[in-house]
């Protein structure tokens, strides 16, 4: 298996990408080879003095870098020698199995749709981050921002794609799929969710668990939460923002008194454990599902551990055959649901 890493993407590139790759080569199976796309000299500097299996770590020189302040699609079209585009192209050309980047989200999405391209009959690829839940697992939000205006059929396919991922990568048997909605009752919703509900109910091959209110995201009752990318983006960022705000408020309260400071110091391991649970670096990245090969968008501020986890996630995604399973599910859904039920 060959994993194509954009070594120049993210706040801590290329050092964190290189270090993450080295961690992965140490602990993952021997059949994983990593290609690092980027500035050869910079990558070599990051590798200086380190021992690693040279046959499994290949530098692929790339002379350009796509930055976060460029218009994503235009940058992807123009910068053909960028680390991101070349890494994506390796997957598109079937030379590599999965593309990983912590660069601009928009550019990674454009690489997915413009270079690696959609799986046949997939309406829209979807960005699918995983959120830690109260039952110790993860809940996927699909879509979290790739498609801000959606049609019911897109959401039906998000359900299929999310289920395939959670089963094959996270090992969840019969993942419970919820439809993000403004109430639990079947009749609730806006035009989109009202039309989508009966389609999900009728869809074979997934476990539809009904409407999921935003407050249930972290309950663990749902493994996959299906939504349009606008509401999904609100859900994702609100969850991140609230977690951060609560932590910040608590810190202020603890630091504001001697009792608080002492109590906080004693309870430090508990706070650390909570932080670890909420830590995005433990998850890896957000897969872009629905394209012809693996794509993982790592967090922009990823450190070495985050890249290591993204690489581990990529390995599972490839080994599990997620892309193939999605293609098959969408094909089956097309025959059974799209023609007969969606019409």
């Amino acid at each position: 298996m060959i994993l194509a890493l954009d070594a120049m993407g993210g706040d801590n590139a290329p050092q964190a990408v290189v270090d993450g790759a080295l961690l992965a080569l140490e602990s993952l199976k021997k059949d994983v080879t990593i290609w690092l796309f980027g500035d050869e000299e910079q990558i070599k500097n990051c590798l200086a003095g380190k021992t690693y299996p040279a046959d499994r770590l290949v530098i692929k020189p790339a002379s350009e870098v796509i930055t976060c302040d460029e218009a994503p699609a235009a940058a992807v079209r123009r910068k053909k020698n960028s680390s991101m585009v070349l890494a994506a192209k390796a997957v598109a050309d079937r030379e590599a199995d999965c593309f990983i980047s912590a660069g601009s989200t928009g550019a990674v999405l454009s690489c997915g749709t413009l270079i690696i391209r959609r799986i046949k009959d997939v309406q829209r690829p979807a960005l699918s981050p995983l959120i830690p839940n109260l039952q110790g697992g993860h809940t996927m939000i699909i879509d979290a921002g790739a498609n801000v205006d959606c049609k019911p059929l897109y959401l039906v396919q998000f359900a299929q794609m999310g289920s395939a991922y959670m089963e094959l990568v996270e090992g969840v048997k019969e993942p419970a799929v919820g439809l993000l909605n403004n109430g639990e009752e079947a009749e609730k919703g806006n035009e989109l969710t009202k039309e989508t509900y009966p389609l999900l109910q009728a869809l074979e091959g997934i476990q539809f668990a009904g409407n999921c209110e935003a407050r249930e995201l972290m309950s663990g009752d749902f493994d996959v939460v299906v939504t349009d990318g606008f509401a999904g983006n609100v859900l994702l960022k609100s969850t991140e923002g609230t977690a951060k705000a609560i932590t910040s408020m608590l810190k202020t309260e603890l630091m504001g008194s001697i009792r608080g400071t002492i109590g906080g110091a004693i309870a430090k391991p508990a706070f650390a454990a909570l932080k670890k649970k909420m830590d995005y670096t433990e998850v890896g990245g957000a897969p872009l599902l629905g394209v012809n090969g693996g794509v993982i968008k790592a967090h922009g501020s990823s450190n070495a551990k985050a890249f290591f986890n993204a690489i581990r996630q990529a390995q599972k995604l490839v080994e599990g055959g997620v892309t193939e399973k999605i293609a098959a599910a969408v094909q089956a859904g097309k025959t059974v649901s799209a023609e007969e039920k969606i019409g």
Copy 2:
């Protein structure tokens, strides 16, 4: 000023409503009179043995109760002698100034639109809860669920209504209005927000502060966050749900070790202070803005303190002339924006 309370609405009715009213009569200005709509005997039992100014607390008998498991609009139409409908009717008939209920959200919204009715030229009334923010104030989400499918003009009016409330009730000078969006950049968004952005930019009488990402809700940088009711509902419930999940996770971690338990016990006042900051009972309720009179939807699980705060909020809303200010702003906006710019 007369405030019309649905004494039978909410999990703790009628006792909590009655107790909240008594607290309010003790501490608020003498010109506030409270009408309690509901079962006369039950309310009298709640009042038994208590001293209060009888001229300022009037029982208004109502033989029916609207429950949370009824279809809201149908229940409001059918149960003409319910505590909720009669309290709303008192405002519609200009006998009372503000209607407060902790009953079914859907039924309260129906009372607003069917009984009290929209202000002239207001497209859609909006449910507008207030969230504690990191700067010690509140941020309003408008709309949080009354209108799941919206048009740009609705959002323009939400901006006007939210600004009027924050200025007159919360005393915020030139409230900063944000548009909930999936990115900060002006060009971001779905069809609705892309169309709404330039309208808000051109709108006179409000301070448009650009796009607000969901993660910024609690930052305090925005006083009013304008959104369609579907995304607003996701934002509200996700904020509530995440706060609860984080607290629950932290509790589990603290209780899981001796150090955590001891540290937690010592730092207890800090946790209590945080809890108080996040406590919805401190806020009051969510106003329904855009109808011909005050409407406040209190939280279903409101206790006496929450009702007291909702009553205090109602008093400010009436004294501030929020309804009148909204009517004037919408009229001005109609001339300036709706015809010339939106038209």
